[in-house]
């Protein structure tokens, strides 16, 4: 009977006894994924799934797709212990984690509290390895947590104040790392390895410092080291540089289906590196078995057409961004007159009202998107229609009236408004211009704004100088995505609504100020922005669902009413292409980096290849 549930792929190794049988590979209490309950079908082992990535760096998608986290989200974005057998959080201040007994790394070595301890004491607290003192998330008011090993299977991280970011970060696409395979990694650690061997290894890996060696060999997000034991469903077998990366099943993976079959079903994931421009073409030629990245809504027709020629299936998922395209007036812009205008909420509202979102939706998205402000999607429990509908009517008259009120009543012969200092009201929008959607949308907006007497010019500049230009106030306005996470729950950090990052193009200096704890940038001086920052602070200190929800609502209301970012259309669709043999891929889903981890929360380890094409 055991034979049945062993993957054929491992048969050889099993026969050679280089691998123990399944029962010894699994933890005592593996995570049982009940597919039937999820509305999916339990499947069979086997097969290879090919997918295409745009650059070798993108092997990190496997960490995201694999989505093995200490704690992860389920499809409804509720926390679930995954690698952990269980976890407890007391007021978001004390977190107790329980490990699965008998859980093993992909090389068969046991996964224990020692691995946590190693990472905490020898990596995070090591000045060489973590010169910065660890991630911001680990620090509440600058203080690291206490780390305790409670027993053989239990550990605890505790802070004095609540750390609501802790769990979301563990569950995120780019998770906070708390653990590493200490047995393997110790050979690269100065404290555990003798100097001679260490320098030999450094020589071999061509690094100059032992810390670099350790960092290089222990990188998990971009799993470039094939020897590094992992807890993911698939482990990399190819060392870069390569044009093709092969990931094979982790024989010690901790999940099983209800029939006792070990996940993942699929034996191998093959990632081919192609230039991003031909990913759609290759996908349309049936050269990918599962493709979500590198293809765009604009490619849908072509991909759909391929269904006739190749055994592929194209589904459309919903993107989770707050807005597919948003226009961001730079409140820190260097031009005094314009900065003043942009800080005037009437101007922002007028600009928003002038846009005909319906036309944009029809022209660029086949009417499949939803005209909306830059806010949460209906999928979010925090969603309210008034946020989405704030200032999105196409109302040129009102917009004109608002602008007149704001002191732009004078116009030149062509009907372009004049600034108070007599210049023409000409706005230059900058875009990295990587996708034609941006420029197309801007062409439409140009016409819309012409009707309210604002001339719009489009300028494209390279992405990397974009940021520094925005910081220097040299960008007046830019076009970018809306909120990263449009399906947030109250448990997730509302930082995206407040000036917290230097790459928030509507207020980069304020963001920098926050990010650098006041050492760089400028403090926000707009009351509404200050209010947002304060609300964020309250959320961070709060440990109660209701309070957090209330804070979220307030922030959303301010953000949308103030039109800090002019959202255009959201809920746009993302094609997901799969071979028709691939089962269990949901037809509808939410597509985004954070929090859904692209395909991650839909558990690609439960996808399987059926014999016949469906």
């Amino acid at each position: 009977a055991d034979r049945d549930i062993e993957p054929e792929y491992l048969a050889e190794q099993l026969r050679a006894r280089s691998l123990p049988p399944l029962s010894q590979r699994l933890p005592k209490r593996p995570r049982i994924v009940r597919l039937k309950q999820m509305g999916r079908t339990p499947g069979q082992y086997g097969g290879t799934v090919r997918t295409i990535i745009g650059s070798a760096k993108d092997i990190r998608f496997m960490t995201i797709y694999g989505y093995a986290r200490l704690i992860g989200y389920d499809e409804r974005l509720v926390f679930q212990p995954d690698i952990l057998e269980g976890f407890q959080s007391e007021n978001d201040t004390v977190f107790t984690f329980t490990l699965r007994e008998g859980h093993k790394w992909s090389d068969g070595s046991p996964f224990t509290v020692d691995d946590f301890r190693y990472w905490w004491e020898d990596v995070l607290l090591n000045k060489d390895l973590t010169p910065g003192g660890g991630s911001m998330v680990l620090r509440v008011d600058g203080n690291l947590p206490r780390f305790e090993v409670l027993d053989e299977w239990t550990i605890r991280y505790s802070w004095d104040k609540p750390n609501p970011d802790f769990l979301p970060n563990l569950a995120g696409p780019q998770p906070l790392v708390l653990v590493g395979p200490s047995a393997y990694l110790k050979q690269f650690h100065k404290d555990y390895q003798d100097q001679f061997r260490l320098s030999a290894l450094m020589q071999e890996q061509r690094v100059k410092k032992w810390a670099d060696l350790h960092i290089k060999m222990s990188r998990t997000y971009r799993p470039e080291n094939p020897k590094l034991p992992t807890l993911d469903p698939w482990r990399n077998t190819t060392a870069p540089p390569a044009e093709q990366f092969i990931f094979e099943r982790n024989p010690f993976f901790h999940r099983v289906d209800e029939n006792g079959r070990q996940l993942p079903y699929i034996d191998r994931f093959v990632l081919n590196v192609s230039s991003s421009s031909i990913i759609p073409a290759k996908t349309g030629a049936g050269e990918s078995d599962l493709q979500a990245t590198g293809i765009d809504f604009a490619d849908y027709t072509f991909l759909k057409d391929a269904e006739d020629r190749y055994p592929v299936k194209v589904d459309l998922w919903k993107m989770t961004r707050g807005s597919r395209v948003a226009i961001l007036p730079n409140l820190n812009c260097g031009d005094d007159v314009w900065r003043g205008l942009f800080r005037d909420v009437r101007v922002r509202r007028a600009l928003s009202l002038a846009i005909d979102r319906h036309e944009i939706n029809m022209a660029v998205f086949y009417g499949l998107g939803v005209p909306s402000a830059d806010t949460l999607l209906p999928e979010s429990p925090l969603f309210k229609p008034e946020y989405a509908n704030a200032w999105i009517d196409h109302d040129t008259e009102r917009a004109n009236a608002l602008l007149d009120e704001a002191g732009l009543q004078n116009r030149d012969a062509d009907g372009i408004r004049l600034l108070p200092d007599g210049r023409l009201a000409e706005i230059t929008i900058e875009t990295p211009g990587e996708s034609s959607v941006d420029t197309d949308v801007l062409e439409l907006v140009t016409d819309h704004w012409r009707k309210i007497g604002i001339a719009l010019f489009i300028r494209t500049s390279q992405r990397d100088i974009f940021r520094s230009r925005a910081m220097g106030g040299r960008i007046m306005m830019s076009i970018w995505y809306g909120m990263d996470n449009g399906v947030a729950t109250a448990d997730m950090n509302p930082g995206q609504l407040a000036p917290t990052m230097d790459d928030q193009l509507q207020w980069p200096l304020w963001g920098m100020h926050y990010l650098s704890h006041g050492s760089q940038g400028k403090a926000a001086d707009l009351p509404e922005a200050i209010a947002l920052t304060e609300l964020l602070g309250r959320w961070q200190r709060s440990a109660h669902m209701a309070e957090r929800t209330e804070i979220w609502q307030q922030m959303l209301a301010i953000y949308t009413q103030q039109v800090f970012s002019i959202g255009l259309v959201n809920g746009t669709l993302q094609p997901i292409v799969r071979t028709s043999r691939l089962q269990n891929v949901p037809e509808k889903g939410l597509y985004g980096f954070d929090p859904t981890c692209y395909l991650g929360i839909y558990m690609p380890d439960t996808f399987w290849l059926s014999g016949e094409q469906v």
Partner: protein, 391 residues
């Protein structure tokens, strides 16, 4: 009156021509000959050029084209930016003359669009009942002639409230034909400047180096080596990055073209140089030197003409580079950008497999490119022949 030949092998008789003989007489010139011998060399070349019909036709074609770009606003049925969101990716419409067997003059059938939500395709059908006669010298989209004079007269426009997309529309429902007409402006002008610069530099520097040799040649050679070693793409990237961002894209493109023109002379300079290295040993060069000709003159009047064919061929071959120069850059996210339009941009915008599969009419800008290139080449042929003394 000719000398008779004796039969084969027989002894030759003494023959004396009896025709009247006057050593001072010169054959009379025909009018045509007289005209020719009085003509200047330029005129002679023009006559020779005219004999090459294809070259003549090409020349006229190009003249017309350059004439057209002056009045692009008038010729284009739509404005460059006019969008028709209801007619996105509409295939080309055909111009008909007869409807139901009756002559109605040029017209197009109206179109209906259906969105196929399954494949997200826009499906267009001709409405056979909706006859939309074209209008000529009509009022349509308003424009600013050369950005100065308001106007709205077009050569041809669609029927009132009708559409006419003779070459189809793009992803924003813009008329491809109009965009091609507008695009000609940039495509046929800016690159030419770069070429001119690089040609002048190439010939002058290469010429001097080849003709004089010595230290100057050595120096030029090293400079060429250095410049040739820097591939153009990184240069473009670096230049584009340091150009002031406040410049308009067209100015930047212009600037880059000029700079590149100033760097691009090396290949030509090398071939000029090496050709001159051998040509300068010819006696006629010596003759010119002995007459006291300066190097500029010798290079310009004696050596370069001997090299004209090559120069013409090189120039005509560089034309496509000039027209399509920006495509490579746009590809890398540099160079020209919308809203400025050129044929290269139009093609870059059409850069995806779905275009080839579903909207092949977006590739139409290739046709003017090809035509212009052919025309320049045939023109070059004609010029070559005109300059060729052996014809």
């Amino acid at each position: 009156m000719t000398a008779p030949l004796p039969p084969p092998g027989a002894p030759l008789q003494h023959y004396v021509s009896t025709a009247p003989f006057d050593p001072m007489s010169i054959e009379a010139m025909t009018d045509a000959q007289a005209k020719i011998h009085l003509a200047s060399q330029a005129r002679l070349m023009w006559w020779k050029f005219k004999r090459h019909k294809l070259a003549l036709a090409s020349g006229i074609f190009l003249l017309v084209l350059y004439g057209m770009i002056i009045i692009a606003e008038f010729l284009a049925p739509y404005n460059l930016h006019t969008r028709n969101v209801d007619f996105i990716h509409s295939p080309p419409q055909r111009v008909h003359l007869f409807h139901d067997g009756k002559f109605v003059g040029p017209f197009v059938y109206g179109r209906q669009m259906k969105l196929d939500m399954e494949s997200l395709k826009r499906i267009y059908t001709n409405d056979r009942n909706d006859v939309q006669p074209l209008r000529f010298f009509c009022r349509g989209d308003s424009y600013r002639f050369w950005g100065l004079i308001e106007g709205n007269v077009h050569l041809v426009c669609p029927a009132k409230d009708g559409q006419m997309f003779l070459l189809g529309t793009d992803r924003l429902g813009r008329d491809v034909l109009s965009r091609i007409i507008y695009g000609a402006r940039i495509s046929l002008t800016i690159g030419l400047i770069g070429i001119t610069i690089s040609f002048v530099l190439g010939i002058v520097i290469g010429g001097l180096a080849g003709y004089h040799g010595g230290l100057f040649d050595l120096l030029v050679q090293r400079v060429i080596e250095v410049l040739q070693s820097l591939p153009s793409l990184p240069l473009w990237m670096a230049l584009a990055a340091i150009m002031p961002v406040t410049w308009s894209p067209i100015l930047i493109y212009f600037g880059i073209t000029i700079i590149l023109g100033m760097l691009d002379w090396t290949g030509l300079a090398r071939s000029v140089r090496s050709k001159l290295l051998s040509l300068r040993e010819e006696d006629y060069v010596l003759a010119a030197q002995l007459m006291g000709a300066k190097s500029g003159r010798i290079i310009g009047r004696h050596l370069v003409p001997g090299f004209m064919s090559h120069l013409i061929a090189t120039a005509t071959i560089s034309i496509p580079g000039m027209i399509l120069g920006e495509t490579a850059l746009s590809f890398l996210g540099l160079g020209l950008r919308p809203p400025i339009t050129s044929w290269g941009i139009l093609l870059t915008e059409a850069r995806s497999v779905s275009v080839i599969a579903f909207y092949p009419w977006l590739l139409f800008p290739m046709i003017p490119v090809i035509l212009v290139i052919l025309a320049f080449n045939f023109l070059g042929d004609g010029l070559r022949d005109a300059a060729d003394p052996y014809r």
